[in-house]
Symmetry: C2
């Protein structure tokens, strides 16, 4: 993982491939790499769909090694959704394979001709060729064509029709172990930028390549052993997530009164039990699917799953908590089959499930359809795939949907939709939504863990006290986790188990021959955040954008009947470390 | 004009009317008043369509007096289009009538119930009542109903269906002398905010009221005499504008190579002669319309006109230069009848002709229809009126249209569409577009006058030298003109004729018993701009938003093959007075 692959899609005689050493980007992986390259090379005021934007795809620092759960792939660019810098990461196989192929980053640059391209990267090198037969295909059909051509040992990174149409909610799909395009770098319209670069799919084949070798293999192996024991022995990562997936959160958040219901109008959803993790797991198992499944080799948490339809045929992967919420309670829908169908369509068209569900909720608020109308919601998603005018509105995200329909209550920060936790009932996540350079994003500093689950300390969800410090520390830690390539869920174990956190640091040190201590690790996270915030500032996104929409201050949320209590002055202190 | 009328549309038992003395707003009129109230009373981060925004309607300081051309009405609020502070002003009769009724401002506040209201203001006071029979009516039918109910001596301020649907391009219409809703406060979505306040129409009747009296009537009359002589004796305000209207600019700007053609791709339009002021005037006269006409009593420039259809029946007022350009050359259309039909539809639906034309140009660039397709453009405008999904996209303005269709070349600043002058060939207007707190707006500092027409000095249109100072001075002067209630066109005379400018200052002084000198007048303009910029900064619109879209720097414009040359550092100096 000692080189960067650049493909200039705008070169005069067709796409031009070049490779270079890491240079300024030595020591960077994942989000540190994507945000490093974007903040250094992309003009902050360029158009996100133009020649000057770059799409950076980077495995984490420990991807492609034997480290458990090191399979996150970061994707970064200037976002067509937020207008700021963006990183989104995905599970699946791609990160491990790309790392073993030796690439610390793929950078797509320039403005292509009218062709649609596929890129093949294997032990022989890199090939790019036009393949217009892929135009308009869903992710499932795209991957099927690639398997047909390149065999079933590959990993794919692809976009669906939404990315080709450059919609601001378009995602980038990565295939899982069964070569299904179900793991998405979902947020911020990454897929639109890949579409704007004219690239439909990147096929990765690491045949002939080996696991990446640490500098100190013994120490590395020993650290990984402690690491795995820490993950498998923890109640959340070793029991709850494997049993019920991320959807284990439905009951917990609903009970806490922070489950945003019908476009953030209430904090409890009467239909929650019908779509909870427990209900879902039971249904999956009864139909011959799976409630426990890893999205990439080397995962020991296995929060993924397989969802079959009523006839026992594969429909989609187990929908995540955020998806079940966005299409479920947020839209007043409590039908697991309908939501699973929406998940399948989202994955196939290549759109972010959170952004899509929140946009539909805003459309419901705007009177376009009724809350609870599952058939109507499915129809809307099909319009996105078809690129009708209405589909293009919804596919442009909740901020645009709200603007176009004249809706006032639009739950976005920096134009990105809020995920499945109401910031009034879980004030710590509100601080993260407001201040992260990424736009409203739970994964950027998951204060829910501490506010609701009692992980990593105990800060009262309903009070502003302590939330700034909590979010600050989590944002710093998360920036590191996102750079190492670790799945964020490791934090449930690492935050409360010092030996587990120590094992992670030991793995980085023994792999790279470093001697980082805790402060040095924190400095990495701070540096990532600083890069991102400086880019945003130059792009016109400053502290005044570090705010929740006014209705979170003005409208008390049942059942706690509470508003967001953290002041603007406090929010401005988050990055004052 | 010594009181402010406030109507709280959200009061518990229906709209609540109150009147108050000017208080903090003494000495303010027009834009100074609207921006004064908005910057002091509206939370910068509120939702533009929510309870906390306010719609302020204010006559200029000299409106309702005998001063020639003092009939501009300012409308202000937080803009649903730009997200920043906004003032748009319109001609027509409303300003004079409202001033004579004694109101320095109408302020609509709060969030209404589901009714649609009409407001009647006359010598007896203020009445507001629900009238849901007005729902969905165009401006023409709305005004016809008001004439039916209140007689033909009134003036109306109204919105069409676009305002009711809260579209970000919705305008507010004022009636002209013939009671046609043809003079619009067009820019920035003012009509959406009036719609969000639940007000369809304000009917003004000044029967029994008299012309406003100056403190020093003799001096005032004498100053107005010099003023009128200055306007009627000037080549532009006394000859060109009366003969050909604002459309006299088509040939001039096309000749200068700064006529933005087919979505700002070229600077000269091959069809310009077909839609020029000269051609239009000839056609209007031949069909029994008028090429010379005043939009309000007391206008001595008379740049307005009447456009008849092929059968000699009234179709619309003489379309303005900006309209002819936006729907014409900007869309590759050179058919006067088609453009006049679009103008009529725009006025009736209540949408900004500039924003609408630029949005259609962006849609053409996005492949939705072909450049030159006049029938397609008319159909699109009808979709806006009908509120179809596609119509809602276009009606949301060019920035949203570009985002939804994935178009990169979108000519907006602060999300507001650029008017009819390419900033590459007329660099001074580019400085105004970039830096005015209003979003891309030619009227905020009309550097075209100096760059192209040689009015107010001579600064080379193609070079950056001198443009900052030019735009700065014009922006300051314009803020004053907009506050006095004067039509901006008086500047053609006032900039080059010291005695004409002096007469304007004398009128303000003799009317109010003041002794303002030139510096004091400039300070008024600076104070308006400072208020507006501070509001914007708190709303998250800072110096990084004082920029043109990247393609104006990257893409040379034929025929001069020049890019925008003013640097970011220079732009940041505009308000450094």
């Amino acid at each position: 993982m000692d080189k960067i692959l650049r493909i200039n899609m705008g070169a005069e005689n067709g796409p031009q491939i070049s490779e270079e050493p890491l240079g300024d980007y030595v020591g960077m992986g994942g989000r540190a790499m994507t945000s490093g390259i974007v903040s250094k090379e992309v003009p902050p005021l360029c158009h996100p769909l133009g020649a000057d934007n770059k799409l950076v795809i980077a495995p984490g620092l420990l991807s492609g090694t034997l480290a458990a759960n090191s399979g996150r792939l970061s994707v970064g660019c200037k976002s067509p959704l937020t207008g700021g810098i963006k990183e989104a990461n995905a599970g699946g196989q791609a990160s491990q394979v790309l790392a073993r192929l030796g690439y610390a980053a793929i950078v797509l640059e320039g403005k292509p001709d009218d062709n649609l391209y596929k890129i093949l990267i294997n032990a022989d090198g890199v090939k790019i060729e036009a393949d217009n037969s892929l135009k308009g295909l869903g992710n499932y059909d795209t991957v099927a064509k690639m398997i047909n051509a390149y065999g079933d040992k590959v990993a794919c990174i692809s976009i669906g029709p939404a990315g080709e149409m450059k919609m601001a909610s378009a995602s980038i799909a990565c295939t899982d172990m069964e070569l299904r395009p179900t793991r998405h770098a979902g947020r911020g319209g990454m897929g639109a930028v890949m579409g704007a670069k004219g690239v439909k799919v990147i096929v990765l084949d690491d045949a002939g390549k080996k696991m990446r070798k640490p500098k100190d293999p013994e120490k590395y192996k020993a650290a990984n052993k402690i690491w795995v024991a820490g993950l498998t022995g923890n109640a959340i990562t070793g029991e709850a997530l494997p049993s019920f997936g991320t959807n284990v959160m439905t009951n917990a958040i609903n009970e806490a009164g922070g489950y945003p219901t019908r476009n953030f109008s209430e904090g409890r959803f009467e239909g929650a039990a019908n779509i909870s993790g427990e209900t879902q797991a039971e249904l999956e198992i009864a139909r011959g699917g799976k409630a426990t499944h890893g999205c990439h080799r080397g995962c020991v948490i296995k929060c993924s799953g397989i969802f079959h339809d009523k006839d026992g045929n594969y429909l989609t992967k187990q929908p995540e908590y955020e998806t079940l919420w966005a299409h479920g309670g947020n839209c007043g829908i409590d039908d697991l089959d309908a939501i699973a169908m929406m998940d399948r369509l989202d994955d196939d068209f290549g759109i972010d499930t959170i952004e899509t569900g929140v946009s539909i909720g805003v459309a419901m608020e705007g009177g376009l359809l009724e809350f609870g109308d599952a058939e109507g919601a499915i129809k809307l998603i099909k319009e996105i795939g078809a690129g009708t005018p209405l589909g293009r509105i919804i596919g442009s995200g909740a901020a645009v949907t709200g603007q176009v329909l004249g809706v006032e209550r639009v739950p976005v920060v920096k134009k990105q939709s809020m995920p499945a936790y109401d910031p009034r009932a879980i004030q710590g996540i509100g601080v993260t939504y407001a201040t992260t350079p990424q736009g409203a994003d739970h994964t950027a500093g998951y204060a829910v863990a501490t506010n609701v689950l009692g992980v990593g300390g105990d800060v009262d969800a309903l009070k502003p006290v302590g939330q700034i410090e909590l979010s600050r520390n989590l944002q710093i830690t998360t920036a590191v986790v996102d750079s190492v390539g670790m799945c964020l869920f490791i934090a449930f174990a690492a935050l409360d188990q010092p030996e587990t956190f120590g094992a992670l640091v030991d793995m980085v040190n023994s792999f790279y021959g470093l001697e980082l201590d805790g402060d040095a690790v924190a400095a990495i996270g701070q540096s990532v955040l600083t890069n991102e915030r400086e880019f945003n500032k130059k792009a016109g996104i400053g502290p005044e954008d570090d705010r929740l929409p006014a209705f979170f201050q003005n409208e008390p949320l049942p059942p706690h009947n509470i508003t967001f209590q953290v002041t603007d002055e406090e929010l401005d202190e988050v990055f004052n470390w």
